[in-house]
């Protein structure tokens, strides 16, 4: 396992599976930690790397103040450690280039992680259908993968990338300096320009509720919207 900081509260953990491991963009793995007395703790973490990337899986872990597993990763785990994982898991919050587009991705905080796998997959396969990503965070420096996202946007057929920053300025045209809301969802649909074939929304429950209600109020069929909610 290799470790790379992403933001002040988020690190990436690159895990090399010991057996052949194929997955679809959007899936997660279960991580199991075992104490010397046999006590075990398990958590699910989304994969950020693209399915065709080969090499290690990138798991992205945000440290939670009252957490059990995430503080272990942030404070104790070291490069070279072995970690028990199981997966891939999840057959609903997944997208492949063959599924087609347009694609609307909405991520709050670490909810960007499974969406990042989809965007990397899309770039690796040179998909041409339209895609738009909205990513919400408190500030620009807390947008996980910010530089890579902005680079992806500049690439041929790159996704439109929109930041919604609740406690920061919106420096780029088209970004927002506020939390997600209904009006924002309507504007995203206009910027995508075509009705989305798939919508993936990932984040905390209040974030997902706001985004999905805004989208369905704006006329998006509930059947094209897939959600993943974390926290509690």
């Amino acid at each position: 396992m290799a470790i790379e900081p992403r933001t002040v509260r988020v690190k990436s953990y690159f895990v090399e599976p010991t057996q052949p491991f194929s997955f679809r963009a959007g899936q997660h793995v279960d991580v199991r930690l075992t104490a010397p007395d046999g006590y075990q703790a398990e958590r699910s973490y989304s994969i950020a790397s693209a399915p065709e990337a080969g090499g290690p899986l990138e798991l992205v872990i945000e440290v939670l103040d009252d957490g059990e597993v995430s503080p272990y990763f942030h404070e104790t785990a070291e490069a070279g450690d072995e970690i028990e994982i199981r997966g891939p898991i999840g057959g609903h919050f997944v997208w492949s280039v063959g599924d087609g587009g347009p694609l609307l991705l909405v991520g709050g905080g670490s909810g960007i992680v499974p969406l990042m796998s989809m965007l990397r997959h899309r770039a690796a396969r040179a998909a041409e259908s339209r895609a738009l990503l909205l990513v919400a965070a408190r500030s620009a420096d807390q947008v996980i993968f910010r530089e890579e996202l902005l680079a992806l946007e500049q690439a041929p057929n790159g996704p439109i990338v929109v930041l919604a920053l609740s406690r920061d300025r919106a420096d780029r045209a088209g970004d927002y300096a506020r939390r997600v809301d209904r009006e924002m969802m309507t504007e995203l649909l206009e910027r995508l320009g075509e009705p989305p074939r798939y919508v993936f929304v990932c984040g905390s429950n209040p974030f997902v509720e706001t985004a999905t209600q805004g989208l369905t109020d704006a006329g998006v069929a509930a059947s094209v919207v897939r959600t993943e909610r974390y926290g509690g």
Partner: protein, 201 residues
């Protein structure tokens, strides 16, 4: 495999024997669902009991609420690794529904269907004999939409995805037919104490 340096945070001693393996205690009530929360209008709400394609009985909201209700205290366990203790629900037992329909359980399996198109399978013996209800309230309040309101199936001894939100029908089936998550890699039965999370567990 021992994880180097991992000590872990044990559940509080008073919860001993109540937290299944791999689960951790939460005092919140996290929300997990596959899509947007449907807003179900009580004026058009209905609940149907059927066997295969054949309707056995159905109720509108007022009729359903007029059925005798029971209170259930239970610990609940979500496959995403959280457990919540001492939850209180109120609703109509599956036994009561069968009795109101004037039938005995017609087959050994059933599928619960929901307003958002979700479905999940449960053996009949796991919802009769007081083991399952259609819950209408949680903690003394009408069930909130994000927690499955107006009504959800409650089968607390199985992983909580079996307790289908926004339920609108129970369909008895001859065979154990996979529902939404069961078709997507999750276990057909889902006993938290045996950690039956995924296919093959």
């Amino acid at each position: 495999m021992i994880t180097r340096g991992f000590k872990g945070r044990r559940p509080p001693p008073e919860t001993s024997g109540r937290i299944p393996p791999g689960q951790s205690l939460t005092t919140d009530f996290p929300v997990l669902s596959a899509g947007p929360t449907p807003r179900v209008d009580l004026a058009s709400w209905s609940f149907t009991l059927k066997v295969g394609p054949k309707r056995l009985a159905s109720w509108n909201w007022d009729e359903f609420n007029a059925l005798p209700q029971v209170e259930v205290h239970a610990d609940i366990h979500c496959v995403t690794k959280w457990s919540k203790l001492d939850t209180t629900w109120r609703g109509v037992s599956i036994d009561e529904l069968l009795s109101a329909a004037g039938v005995a359980a017609p087959t050994r399996f059933l599928l619960a269907h929901s307003y958002d198109g979700y479905s999940t399978n449960v053996p009949t013996e796991d919802v009769v004999g007081g083991k399952g209800i259609i819950a209408l309230t949680y903690g003394g309040e009408p069930l909130a939409p994000e927690h499955g309101g107006p009504a959800r199936l409650l089968v607390p001894h199985l992983y909580f995805w079996k307790s289908a939100k926004w339920v609108n029908a129970l369909q008895f089936t001859e065979r154990d037919e996979a529902g939404f998550w069961e078709l997507r890699g999750y276990h057909m039965y889902g006993d938290p104490w045996r950690e039956q999370r995924y296919t093959g567990d």
